[in-house]
Protein backbone atom coordinates (compact mmCIF):
# COMPACT_ATOMS: atom_id res chain seq x y z
CA UNK A 1 0.00 0.00 0.00
CA UNK A 2 1.46 3.36 -1.09
CA UNK A 3 0.61 6.78 0.20
CA UNK A 4 1.64 10.21 -0.97
CA UNK A 5 1.16 13.66 0.50
CA UNK A 6 2.55 16.93 1.75
CA UNK A 7 4.37 16.90 5.07
CA UNK A 8 3.30 18.82 8.15
CA UNK A 9 6.23 18.89 10.55
CA UNK A 10 5.96 19.09 14.34
CA UNK A 11 8.38 18.89 17.28
CA UNK A 12 8.95 16.52 20.20
CA UNK A 13 6.49 15.34 22.87
CA UNK A 14 3.39 16.60 21.03
CA UNK A 15 0.69 15.65 23.56
CA UNK A 16 -2.92 14.63 23.06
CA UNK A 17 -4.13 17.96 24.47
CA UNK A 18 -2.29 19.63 21.59
CA UNK A 19 -3.71 17.19 19.04
CA UNK A 20 -7.28 17.65 20.27
CA UNK A 21 -7.92 19.86 23.31
CA UNK A 22 -10.18 18.37 25.98
CA UNK A 23 -12.66 21.21 25.60
CA UNK A 24 -13.91 19.50 22.44
CA UNK A 25 -14.34 16.07 24.01
CA UNK A 26 -17.90 16.59 25.14
CA UNK A 27 -18.81 14.92 21.82
CA UNK A 28 -17.22 12.30 19.59
CA UNK A 29 -18.16 13.19 15.99
CA UNK A 30 -15.02 12.71 13.84
CA UNK A 31 -15.90 15.65 11.55
CA UNK A 32 -16.34 18.00 14.51
CA UNK A 33 -13.10 16.76 16.09
CA UNK A 34 -11.23 17.22 12.80
CA UNK A 35 -12.14 20.92 12.77
CA UNK A 36 -10.12 21.39 15.95
CA UNK A 37 -7.19 19.06 15.27
CA UNK A 38 -3.88 20.70 16.23
CA UNK A 39 -5.61 24.06 16.61
CA UNK A 40 -3.56 25.25 19.60
CA UNK A 41 -0.30 23.97 18.16
CA UNK A 42 -0.83 25.10 14.57
CA UNK A 43 -3.81 27.41 13.99
CA UNK A 44 -5.37 26.89 10.57
CA UNK A 45 -4.17 23.28 10.32
CA UNK A 46 -7.60 21.76 9.86
CA UNK A 47 -8.60 24.08 7.01
CA UNK A 48 -5.32 23.79 5.14
CA UNK A 49 -4.58 20.09 5.50
CA UNK A 50 -5.37 18.07 2.37
CA UNK A 51 -6.62 14.51 2.14
CA UNK A 52 -3.59 12.23 2.15
CA UNK A 53 -1.16 14.64 3.82
CA UNK A 54 1.46 13.20 6.10
CA UNK A 55 2.32 14.27 9.61
CA UNK A 56 5.94 14.22 10.73
CA UNK A 57 7.17 14.63 14.30
CA UNK A 58 10.11 14.11 16.60
CA UNK A 59 10.10 11.79 19.64
CA UNK A 60 7.16 10.64 21.79
CA UNK A 61 4.34 11.81 19.52
CA UNK A 62 0.89 11.51 21.09
CA UNK A 63 1.92 11.39 24.75
CA UNK A 64 -0.65 12.07 27.45
CA UNK A 65 -4.21 10.88 27.53
CA UNK A 66 -5.74 7.72 26.07
CA UNK A 67 -8.28 9.69 24.05
CA UNK A 68 -8.84 7.95 20.75
CA UNK A 69 -10.27 11.28 19.66
CA UNK A 70 -6.65 12.27 18.92
CA UNK A 71 -5.85 9.86 16.06
CA UNK A 72 -9.51 10.02 15.06
CA UNK A 73 -9.34 13.82 14.64
CA UNK A 74 -6.12 13.58 12.60
CA UNK A 75 -7.48 10.84 10.40
CA UNK A 76 -10.76 12.66 9.85
CA UNK A 77 -8.80 15.82 8.99
CA UNK A 78 -7.21 13.89 6.13
CA UNK A 79 -3.87 12.72 7.55
CA UNK A 80 -2.96 9.41 5.90
CA UNK A 81 0.11 8.45 7.91
CA UNK A 82 2.32 9.72 10.74
CA UNK A 83 6.09 9.41 10.78
CA UNK A 84 8.00 10.12 14.00
CA UNK A 85 11.13 9.27 15.90
CA UNK A 86 8.95 7.45 18.43
CA UNK A 87 5.34 7.31 19.56
CA UNK A 88 3.61 7.23 22.94
CA UNK A 89 2.24 3.78 23.66
CA UNK A 90 -1.53 4.31 23.80
CA UNK A 91 -1.52 6.63 20.80
CA UNK A 92 0.33 3.93 18.87
CA UNK A 93 -2.29 1.27 19.63
CA UNK A 94 -5.19 3.61 19.02
CA UNK A 95 -3.93 4.65 15.60
CA UNK A 96 -3.55 1.12 14.29
CA UNK A 97 -6.90 0.18 15.81
CA UNK A 98 -8.43 2.99 13.74
CA UNK A 99 -6.50 1.98 10.63
CA UNK A 100 -4.15 4.98 10.71
CA UNK A 101 -0.59 3.80 9.97
CA UNK A 102 2.40 5.05 11.97
CA UNK A 103 6.03 4.69 11.02
CA UNK A 104 9.05 5.05 13.27
CA UNK A 105 12.07 6.51 11.52
CA UNK A 106 14.53 8.75 13.37
CA UNK A 107 16.38 9.63 10.12
CA UNK A 108 13.22 10.62 8.27
CA UNK A 109 12.03 12.58 11.29
CA UNK A 110 15.21 14.64 11.19
CA UNK A 111 15.81 15.08 7.48
CA UNK A 112 12.35 15.61 6.00
CA UNK A 113 11.27 19.26 5.95
CA UNK A 114 7.92 20.89 6.47
CA UNK A 115 6.10 21.07 3.15
CA UNK A 116 8.11 18.32 1.40
CA UNK A 117 6.18 15.86 -0.77
CA UNK A 118 6.66 12.38 0.56
CA UNK A 119 5.75 8.90 -0.62
CA UNK A 120 5.39 6.04 1.83
CA UNK A 121 5.33 2.32 1.12
CA UNK A 122 3.60 0.66 4.05
CA UNK A 123 4.57 -2.84 2.99
CA UNK A 124 8.30 -2.23 2.97
CA UNK A 125 8.46 0.69 5.41
CA UNK A 126 10.24 2.82 2.80
CA UNK A 127 9.86 6.56 2.92
CA UNK A 128 10.71 8.57 -0.19
CA UNK A 129 11.11 12.33 0.01
CA UNK A 130 10.22 13.48 -3.53
CA UNK A 131 11.25 17.08 -2.85
CA UNK A 132 14.74 16.20 -1.64
CA UNK A 133 15.01 13.01 -3.69
CA UNK A 134 16.08 11.02 -0.64
CA UNK A 135 15.08 7.63 0.69
CA UNK A 136 14.67 6.56 4.32
CA UNK A 137 13.66 3.33 5.94
CA UNK A 138 11.34 2.88 8.89
CA UNK A 139 11.00 0.07 11.42
CA UNK A 140 8.81 -2.46 9.56
CA UNK A 141 5.22 -2.66 10.77
CA UNK A 142 4.69 -5.97 12.65
CA UNK A 143 2.60 -8.52 10.66
CA UNK A 144 -0.33 -8.38 13.12
CA UNK A 145 -0.59 -4.62 12.74
CA UNK A 146 -0.27 -4.85 8.95
CA UNK A 147 -3.26 -7.15 9.07
CA UNK A 148 -5.16 -4.57 11.13
CA UNK A 149 -4.36 -1.90 8.53
CA UNK A 150 -5.41 -4.15 5.65
CA UNK A 151 -8.72 -4.84 7.35
CA UNK A 152 -9.21 -1.13 8.06
CA UNK A 153 -8.72 -1.25 11.83
CA UNK A 154 -9.54 -3.43 14.82
CA UNK A 155 -13.33 -3.32 14.46
CA UNK A 156 -13.54 -4.49 10.84
CA UNK A 157 -10.81 -7.01 11.73
CA UNK A 158 -12.85 -8.46 14.60
CA UNK A 159 -16.01 -8.40 12.54
CA UNK A 160 -14.25 -10.38 9.85
CA UNK A 161 -13.00 -12.86 12.43
CA UNK A 162 -16.47 -13.26 13.90
CA UNK A 163 -17.85 -13.96 10.44
CA UNK A 164 -15.14 -16.52 9.77
CA UNK A 165 -15.79 -18.31 13.04
CA UNK A 166 -19.56 -18.43 12.53
CA UNK A 167 -19.01 -19.80 9.02
CA UNK A 168 -16.89 -22.58 10.47
CA UNK A 169 -19.42 -23.60 13.10
Amino acid sequence: MKLEGKVWKFGADVDTDAIIPARYLNQSDPKELAKHAMEDECPGFSTEVKEGDILLAEKNFGCGSSREHAPLALKAAGISCIIAKSFARIFFRNSFNLGLPLLESPEASEAIKDGDRVQVDLNTGEIFDLTQNRKFSATPIPPFMQELLRDGGLIPHLRKKRKQSTKKT
Binding site: N26, S65, N94, G153, L154
Partner: protein, 426 residues
Protein backbone atom coordinates in the same frame (compact mmCIF):
# COMPACT_ATOMS: atom_id res chain seq x y z
CA UNK B 1 9.95 -23.42 44.56
CA UNK B 2 12.87 -22.16 42.48
CA UNK B 3 11.64 -21.07 39.08
CA UNK B 4 13.58 -21.65 35.91
CA UNK B 5 12.22 -18.45 34.45
CA UNK B 6 12.63 -15.71 37.00
CA UNK B 7 9.99 -13.07 36.40
CA UNK B 8 8.99 -9.62 37.62
CA UNK B 9 5.61 -9.08 39.25
CA UNK B 10 4.31 -7.61 35.98
CA UNK B 11 5.47 -10.63 33.98
CA UNK B 12 3.94 -13.02 36.51
CA UNK B 13 0.54 -11.38 36.36
CA UNK B 14 0.60 -11.32 32.56
CA UNK B 15 1.69 -14.95 32.38
CA UNK B 16 -1.13 -15.98 34.70
CA UNK B 17 -3.65 -14.09 32.59
CA UNK B 18 -2.51 -15.52 29.28
CA UNK B 19 -2.43 -19.15 30.33
CA UNK B 20 1.34 -19.39 30.19
CA UNK B 21 3.97 -20.58 32.61
CA UNK B 22 6.25 -17.73 31.70
CA UNK B 23 6.34 -14.69 29.44
CA UNK B 24 9.25 -12.61 28.21
CA UNK B 25 9.39 -8.92 27.31
CA UNK B 26 8.46 -8.24 23.71
CA UNK B 27 6.18 -11.27 23.47
CA UNK B 28 2.70 -10.59 22.06
CA UNK B 29 0.11 -12.23 24.29
CA UNK B 30 -3.64 -12.51 24.47
CA UNK B 31 -4.60 -11.44 27.97
CA UNK B 32 -7.72 -12.35 29.93
CA UNK B 33 -9.05 -9.17 31.51
CA UNK B 34 -10.43 -9.03 35.05
CA UNK B 35 -11.98 -5.62 34.66
CA UNK B 36 -12.64 -3.12 31.87
CA UNK B 37 -13.35 0.54 32.64
CA UNK B 38 -14.50 3.56 30.64
CA UNK B 39 -15.66 7.09 31.43
CA UNK B 40 -18.00 9.69 29.95
CA UNK B 41 -15.40 10.77 27.36
CA UNK B 42 -14.17 7.36 26.24
CA UNK B 43 -17.22 5.10 26.74
CA UNK B 44 -19.34 6.57 23.92
CA UNK B 45 -16.70 5.59 21.33
CA UNK B 46 -16.15 2.24 23.09
CA UNK B 47 -19.88 1.47 23.02
CA UNK B 48 -19.94 2.37 19.33
CA UNK B 49 -16.99 0.00 18.72
CA UNK B 50 -18.71 -2.71 20.78
CA UNK B 51 -21.81 -2.43 18.58
CA UNK B 52 -19.86 -2.27 15.33
CA UNK B 53 -18.15 -5.56 16.14
CA UNK B 54 -21.61 -7.04 16.27
CA UNK B 55 -21.44 -7.90 19.98
CA UNK B 56 -24.68 -8.07 21.90
CA UNK B 57 -23.60 -8.73 25.46
CA UNK B 58 -20.62 -7.64 27.52
CA UNK B 59 -18.34 -10.50 28.52
CA UNK B 60 -19.30 -10.19 32.18
CA UNK B 61 -21.74 -7.66 33.58
CA UNK B 62 -19.84 -7.56 36.88
CA UNK B 63 -16.53 -6.75 35.24
CA UNK B 64 -17.39 -3.84 32.99
CA UNK B 65 -17.41 -0.57 34.89
CA UNK B 66 -18.65 2.80 33.62
CA UNK B 67 -17.82 5.95 35.55
CA UNK B 68 -19.09 9.28 34.28
CA UNK B 69 -16.61 11.56 36.04
CA UNK B 70 -14.96 13.93 33.57
CA UNK B 71 -17.71 16.42 32.71
CA UNK B 72 -20.20 15.48 35.43
CA UNK B 73 -22.55 16.64 36.84
CA UNK B 74 -23.07 17.27 33.12
CA UNK B 75 -21.51 20.62 32.29
CA UNK B 76 -23.45 21.21 29.08
CA UNK B 77 -25.89 19.56 26.69
CA UNK B 78 -23.36 17.53 24.66
CA UNK B 79 -21.87 16.16 27.93
CA UNK B 80 -25.35 15.28 29.14
CA UNK B 81 -25.92 13.38 25.90
CA UNK B 82 -22.69 11.45 26.36
CA UNK B 83 -23.66 10.54 29.93
CA UNK B 84 -27.07 9.44 28.74
CA UNK B 85 -25.41 7.00 26.36
CA UNK B 86 -23.50 5.45 29.28
CA UNK B 87 -26.58 5.29 31.47
CA UNK B 88 -28.65 3.56 28.80
CA UNK B 89 -25.91 1.12 27.93
CA UNK B 90 -25.36 0.28 31.61
CA UNK B 91 -29.08 -0.35 32.00
CA UNK B 92 -29.45 -2.42 28.85
CA UNK B 93 -26.42 -4.53 29.75
CA UNK B 94 -27.45 -4.71 33.43
CA UNK B 95 -23.99 -3.57 34.49
CA UNK B 96 -23.45 -4.13 38.19
CA UNK B 97 -21.11 -1.16 38.45
CA UNK B 98 -22.37 2.00 36.90
CA UNK B 99 -21.87 5.02 39.11
CA UNK B 100 -24.35 7.84 38.90
CA UNK B 101 -23.67 11.38 40.15
CA UNK B 102 -24.15 11.24 43.90
CA UNK B 103 -22.43 7.87 44.27
CA UNK B 104 -19.71 8.65 41.85
CA UNK B 105 -16.16 9.92 42.01
CA UNK B 106 -13.03 10.03 39.93
CA UNK B 107 -12.65 6.54 38.50
CA UNK B 108 -9.11 5.82 39.66
CA UNK B 109 -9.85 6.65 43.26
CA UNK B 110 -13.34 5.19 43.17
CA UNK B 111 -12.47 1.70 41.90
CA UNK B 112 -9.90 0.83 44.60
CA UNK B 113 -12.17 2.37 47.24
CA UNK B 114 -15.04 0.11 46.19
CA UNK B 115 -12.79 -2.95 46.11
CA UNK B 116 -13.33 -3.38 42.37
CA UNK B 117 -9.64 -3.77 41.57
CA UNK B 118 -7.43 -6.17 43.49
CA UNK B 119 -3.81 -7.31 43.62
CA UNK B 120 -2.69 -9.73 40.92
CA UNK B 121 -5.46 -8.73 38.53
CA UNK B 122 -5.20 -7.52 34.94
CA UNK B 123 -7.22 -4.36 34.48
CA UNK B 124 -7.66 -2.13 31.46
CA UNK B 125 -9.38 1.20 31.19
CA UNK B 126 -10.06 3.65 28.43
CA UNK B 127 -8.22 6.27 30.38
CA UNK B 128 -4.48 6.73 30.49
CA UNK B 129 -4.34 6.91 34.30
CA UNK B 130 -5.72 3.39 34.64
CA UNK B 131 -2.12 2.58 35.61
CA UNK B 132 -3.07 3.85 39.10
CA UNK B 133 -4.13 0.39 40.33
CA UNK B 134 -0.54 -0.77 40.16
CA UNK B 135 -0.41 0.92 43.56
CA UNK B 136 -2.00 -2.19 45.02
CA UNK B 137 -0.08 -4.72 42.96
CA UNK B 138 -2.35 -5.16 39.95
CA UNK B 139 -1.29 -4.98 36.32
CA UNK B 140 -3.31 -2.12 34.94
CA UNK B 141 -2.93 -0.01 31.86
CA UNK B 142 -4.74 2.53 29.74
CA UNK B 143 -6.06 1.77 26.28
CA UNK B 144 -8.17 3.59 23.73
CA UNK B 145 -11.89 3.27 23.16
CA UNK B 146 -11.70 0.74 20.32
CA UNK B 147 -9.55 -1.60 22.40
CA UNK B 148 -11.94 -1.17 25.27
CA UNK B 149 -15.00 -1.77 23.12
CA UNK B 150 -13.42 -5.00 21.89
CA UNK B 151 -12.49 -6.03 25.44
CA UNK B 152 -16.04 -5.34 26.69
CA UNK B 153 -17.20 -7.84 24.10
CA UNK B 154 -14.50 -10.48 24.48
CA UNK B 155 -12.94 -10.01 27.94
CA UNK B 156 -9.58 -10.14 26.23
CA UNK B 157 -6.90 -7.83 24.91
CA UNK B 158 -3.68 -8.39 23.01
CA UNK B 159 -0.66 -6.91 24.71
CA UNK B 160 3.05 -6.79 24.30
CA UNK B 161 4.83 -7.87 27.47
CA UNK B 162 6.74 -4.79 28.64
CA UNK B 163 10.30 -4.72 29.86
CA UNK B 164 10.48 -3.77 33.52
CA UNK B 165 12.56 -1.07 35.12
CA UNK B 166 13.20 -0.93 38.83
CA UNK B 167 13.01 2.33 40.75
CA UNK B 168 14.39 1.97 44.26
CA UNK B 169 13.87 4.59 46.95
CA UNK B 170 15.91 4.73 50.16
CA UNK B 171 15.69 6.96 53.19
CA UNK B 172 13.12 8.68 55.34
CA UNK B 173 10.89 11.31 53.81
CA UNK B 174 11.23 14.90 55.00
CA UNK B 175 8.20 16.69 56.42
CA UNK B 176 5.68 17.65 53.70
CA UNK B 177 7.28 15.32 51.16
CA UNK B 178 4.86 12.74 49.71
CA UNK B 179 4.43 10.18 46.95
CA UNK B 180 3.77 13.06 44.54
CA UNK B 181 7.22 14.49 45.19
CA UNK B 182 8.83 11.09 44.67
CA UNK B 183 7.15 10.57 41.33
CA UNK B 184 7.74 14.15 40.16
CA UNK B 185 11.43 13.82 41.04
CA UNK B 186 11.55 10.51 39.17
CA UNK B 187 9.89 11.93 36.03
CA UNK B 188 12.23 14.91 36.27
CA UNK B 189 15.09 12.45 36.30
CA UNK B 190 14.07 10.03 33.53
CA UNK B 191 11.92 12.32 31.35
CA UNK B 192 8.44 12.02 29.85
CA UNK B 193 9.51 9.08 27.71
CA UNK B 194 12.02 7.68 30.20
CA UNK B 195 9.93 4.54 30.67
CA UNK B 196 8.29 4.38 27.25
CA UNK B 197 6.46 1.04 26.82
CA UNK B 198 7.98 -0.21 30.11
CA UNK B 199 6.69 -1.39 33.46
CA UNK B 200 7.86 0.87 36.30
CA UNK B 201 8.32 -1.13 39.45
CA UNK B 202 8.61 1.06 42.54
CA UNK B 203 10.37 -0.46 45.52
CA UNK B 204 12.72 0.15 48.43
CA UNK B 205 12.19 0.90 52.09
CA UNK B 206 10.67 4.34 51.41
CA UNK B 207 7.90 2.74 49.37
CA UNK B 208 7.27 0.12 52.10
CA UNK B 209 6.42 2.98 54.48
CA UNK B 210 4.36 4.94 52.00
CA UNK B 211 0.59 5.02 52.64
CA UNK B 212 -1.74 3.65 49.95
CA UNK B 213 -2.65 7.18 48.84
CA UNK B 214 1.01 7.88 48.02
CA UNK B 215 1.40 4.55 46.26
CA UNK B 216 -1.61 5.26 44.06
CA UNK B 217 -0.21 8.71 43.29
CA UNK B 218 3.08 7.21 42.14
CA UNK B 219 1.55 4.48 40.00
CA UNK B 220 -0.92 7.04 38.63
CA UNK B 221 1.86 9.12 37.08
CA UNK B 222 3.77 6.21 35.51
CA UNK B 223 2.10 7.24 32.24
CA UNK B 224 3.73 10.67 32.58
CA UNK B 225 7.06 8.90 32.06
CA UNK B 226 5.58 6.99 29.11
CA UNK B 227 5.21 3.80 31.18
CA UNK B 228 2.80 1.02 30.29
CA UNK B 229 2.13 0.38 33.94
CA UNK B 230 3.44 1.30 37.37
CA UNK B 231 3.47 -1.36 40.05
CA UNK B 232 4.22 -1.85 43.74
CA UNK B 233 4.36 -5.23 45.45
CA UNK B 234 1.56 -5.65 47.99
CA UNK B 235 2.47 -5.71 51.70
CA UNK B 236 0.85 -5.25 55.12
CA UNK B 237 -0.26 -1.73 54.22
CA UNK B 238 -1.97 -3.04 51.06
CA UNK B 239 -3.69 -5.84 52.96
CA UNK B 240 -4.99 -3.44 55.57
CA UNK B 241 -6.43 -1.25 52.83
CA UNK B 242 -8.07 -4.24 51.16
CA UNK B 243 -9.54 -5.87 54.24
CA UNK B 244 -12.81 -3.93 54.41
CA UNK B 245 -13.03 -3.59 50.63
CA UNK B 246 -12.14 -6.78 48.77
CA UNK B 247 -15.19 -8.91 48.03
CA UNK B 248 -13.53 -11.61 45.98
CA UNK B 249 -10.34 -13.61 46.39
CA UNK B 250 -7.13 -12.29 44.95
CA UNK B 251 -3.57 -13.40 44.49
CA UNK B 252 -0.39 -11.69 45.52
CA UNK B 253 2.57 -11.80 43.18
CA UNK B 254 6.12 -10.75 43.95
CA UNK B 255 9.10 -10.30 41.66
CA UNK B 256 11.69 -13.07 41.76
CA UNK B 257 15.01 -11.99 43.24
CA UNK B 258 16.86 -12.74 40.03
CA UNK B 259 14.21 -11.30 37.70
CA UNK B 260 15.54 -9.32 34.76
CA UNK B 261 15.22 -5.54 34.61
CA UNK B 262 16.06 -3.37 31.61
CA UNK B 263 17.27 -0.70 33.99
CA UNK B 264 17.45 0.11 37.69
CA UNK B 265 17.74 3.48 39.37
CA UNK B 266 18.23 4.27 43.03
CA UNK B 267 17.18 7.43 44.82
CA UNK B 268 18.21 8.66 48.25
CA UNK B 269 15.12 10.60 49.27
CA UNK B 270 16.32 11.77 52.68
CA UNK B 271 17.42 15.08 51.17
CA UNK B 272 14.44 15.48 48.87
CA UNK B 273 12.31 18.60 49.30
CA UNK B 274 8.86 19.16 47.84
CA UNK B 275 8.93 19.22 44.04
CA UNK B 276 7.17 21.35 41.47
CA UNK B 277 6.73 20.66 37.75
CA UNK B 278 6.86 23.88 35.76
CA UNK B 279 5.02 24.44 32.46
CA UNK B 280 4.51 22.87 30.00
CA UNK B 281 5.72 19.34 30.61
CA UNK B 282 5.62 17.11 33.73
CA UNK B 283 9.37 16.48 33.54
CA UNK B 284 10.25 20.15 33.98
CA UNK B 285 10.71 19.55 37.70
CA UNK B 286 12.40 21.74 40.31
CA UNK B 287 12.87 21.77 44.06
CA UNK B 288 10.21 24.17 45.38
CA UNK B 289 12.94 26.30 46.96
CA UNK B 290 14.46 26.91 43.56
CA UNK B 291 11.30 28.11 41.88
CA UNK B 292 11.81 31.81 42.64
CA UNK B 293 8.85 34.13 43.01
CA UNK B 294 6.00 32.67 40.98
CA UNK B 295 2.67 34.34 41.66
CA UNK B 296 -0.44 32.29 40.99
CA UNK B 297 -4.11 33.00 40.26
CA UNK B 298 -5.60 29.64 41.15
CA UNK B 299 -4.83 26.56 43.21
CA UNK B 300 -6.60 23.25 42.56
CA UNK B 301 -6.40 20.42 45.09
CA UNK B 302 -7.98 17.25 43.75
CA UNK B 303 -7.84 14.81 40.79
CA UNK B 304 -7.11 11.09 40.57
CA UNK B 305 -3.54 11.92 41.57
CA UNK B 306 -4.13 13.85 44.77
CA UNK B 307 -7.81 13.95 45.63
CA UNK B 308 -7.45 11.28 48.35
CA UNK B 309 -8.54 11.80 51.91
CA UNK B 310 -4.87 11.88 52.99
CA UNK B 311 -4.26 14.72 50.54
CA UNK B 312 -7.16 16.73 51.93
CA UNK B 313 -5.89 16.10 55.47
CA UNK B 314 -2.48 17.49 54.54
CA UNK B 315 -4.14 20.55 53.04
CA UNK B 316 -6.25 20.86 56.20
CA UNK B 317 -3.20 20.85 58.45
CA UNK B 318 -1.72 23.73 56.49
CA UNK B 319 -4.89 25.78 55.97
CA UNK B 320 -6.15 25.46 59.55
CA UNK B 321 -6.84 28.89 61.00
CA UNK B 322 -5.43 30.64 57.93
CA UNK B 323 -6.80 32.61 55.00
CA UNK B 324 -5.86 32.23 51.39
CA UNK B 325 -4.33 35.20 49.53
CA UNK B 326 -7.13 37.55 48.45
CA UNK B 327 -5.78 37.62 44.91
CA UNK B 328 -6.30 33.90 44.40
CA UNK B 329 -8.94 31.17 44.02
CA UNK B 330 -8.57 27.89 45.85
CA UNK B 331 -10.71 25.04 44.50
CA UNK B 332 -10.79 21.79 46.47
CA UNK B 333 -12.29 18.67 44.92
CA UNK B 334 -12.55 15.48 46.99
CA UNK B 335 -12.05 12.61 44.55
CA UNK B 336 -15.07 10.54 45.61
CA UNK B 337 -18.33 10.85 47.44
CA UNK B 338 -16.96 8.77 50.33
CA UNK B 339 -13.95 11.07 50.69
CA UNK B 340 -16.29 14.06 50.53
CA UNK B 341 -18.37 12.64 53.40
CA UNK B 342 -15.35 11.75 55.49
CA UNK B 343 -13.71 15.15 54.98
CA UNK B 344 -16.96 16.77 56.06
CA UNK B 345 -17.16 14.62 59.19
CA UNK B 346 -13.56 15.32 60.13
CA UNK B 347 -14.16 19.06 60.03
CA UNK B 348 -11.97 19.65 57.00
CA UNK B 349 -14.69 21.55 55.17
CA UNK B 350 -14.88 24.07 57.97
CA UNK B 351 -11.15 24.67 57.68
CA UNK B 352 -11.36 25.00 53.90
CA UNK B 353 -14.41 27.25 53.93
CA UNK B 354 -12.96 29.51 56.63
CA UNK B 355 -9.78 29.79 54.61
CA UNK B 356 -11.80 31.01 51.64
CA UNK B 357 -11.79 27.90 49.47
CA UNK B 358 -14.50 26.70 47.11
CA UNK B 359 -15.35 23.01 47.53
CA UNK B 360 -16.69 21.08 44.57
CA UNK B 361 -18.57 17.84 44.24
CA UNK B 362 -16.28 15.03 42.99
CA UNK B 363 -15.35 15.52 39.32
CA UNK B 364 -12.31 15.66 37.05
CA UNK B 365 -13.49 19.15 36.07
CA UNK B 366 -10.55 21.55 35.88
CA UNK B 367 -7.88 18.83 35.69
CA UNK B 368 -8.45 18.52 31.95
CA UNK B 369 -9.73 22.04 31.41
CA UNK B 370 -13.30 20.78 31.37
CA UNK B 371 -15.12 23.10 33.74
CA UNK B 372 -15.23 24.12 37.43
CA UNK B 373 -12.08 26.23 37.25
CA UNK B 374 -10.92 26.73 33.67
CA UNK B 375 -8.10 29.28 33.20
CA UNK B 376 -8.19 32.49 31.16
CA UNK B 377 -5.33 33.69 28.93
CA UNK B 378 -2.27 34.61 30.93
CA UNK B 379 -3.50 32.96 34.14
CA UNK B 380 -1.35 30.68 36.19
CA UNK B 381 -2.50 27.74 38.31
CA UNK B 382 -0.79 25.44 40.75
CA UNK B 383 -2.55 22.07 40.77
CA UNK B 384 -2.13 18.70 42.45
CA UNK B 385 -3.08 17.10 39.12
CA UNK B 386 -0.76 15.16 36.82
CA UNK B 387 -0.40 17.05 33.54
CA UNK B 388 0.68 20.57 32.74
CA UNK B 389 0.67 20.49 28.95
CA UNK B 390 -0.03 23.78 27.20
CA UNK B 391 -3.73 24.55 27.49
CA UNK B 392 -4.44 21.56 29.73
CA UNK B 393 -6.47 23.62 32.21
CA UNK B 394 -7.92 26.16 29.83
CA UNK B 395 -6.64 28.89 27.53
CA UNK B 396 -3.60 27.94 25.49
CA UNK B 397 -1.79 30.95 26.97
CA UNK B 398 -2.42 29.86 30.56
CA UNK B 399 0.12 27.98 32.66
CA UNK B 400 -0.13 24.99 34.98
CA UNK B 401 2.37 24.08 37.70
CA UNK B 402 2.13 20.70 39.42
CA UNK B 403 2.85 19.86 43.07
CA UNK B 404 1.68 17.81 46.02
CA UNK B 405 -1.12 18.99 48.31
CA UNK B 406 1.23 20.53 50.91
CA UNK B 407 2.88 22.94 48.50
CA UNK B 408 -0.50 23.67 46.90
CA UNK B 409 -2.16 24.60 50.21
CA UNK B 410 0.79 26.65 51.43
CA UNK B 411 1.04 28.48 48.11
CA UNK B 412 -2.66 29.31 48.28
CA UNK B 413 -1.98 31.17 51.52
CA UNK B 414 1.07 33.02 50.18
CA UNK B 415 -0.30 33.75 46.72
CA UNK B 416 2.93 32.44 45.24
CA UNK B 417 4.57 29.04 45.00
CA UNK B 418 6.28 28.32 48.32
CA UNK B 419 7.63 25.63 50.62
CA UNK B 420 5.07 24.63 53.26
CA UNK B 421 7.61 25.54 55.93
CA UNK B 422 7.12 29.19 55.05
CA UNK B 423 3.58 28.89 56.32
CA UNK B 424 3.58 26.31 59.07
CA UNK B 425 6.02 24.28 61.15
CA UNK B 426 5.47 20.55 61.18
Amino acid sequence: MKTKHPMTITEKILAAHSGKKAVVPGELIDVRIDLALANDITAPLAIQAFREIGAEKVFNRNRVVLVPDHFTPAKDIPSAEQCKLLREFAKAQRLAHYFEVGQCGIEHVLLPEKGLVLPGEAVIGADSHTCTYGGLGAFSTGVGSTDLGAAMATGRLWLKVPESIKLIYHGKLNPWVSGKDLILATIGDIGVDGALYQAMEFCGETIRKLPMSGRFTMANMAIEAGGKNGIIEPDEITLKFLKPRAKRPYKIYRSDQNAHYANAREYDVSKLHPQVALPHIPSNVKDVRECGKIEIDQVVIGSCTNGHLDDLRVAGRILKGKKIAPSLRLIIIPATQEIYWQALKEGLFEIFLSAGAAISTPTCGPCLGGYMGVLAAGERALATTNRNFRGRMGHVESEVFLSGPAVAAASAIKGRICHPEEVVRK
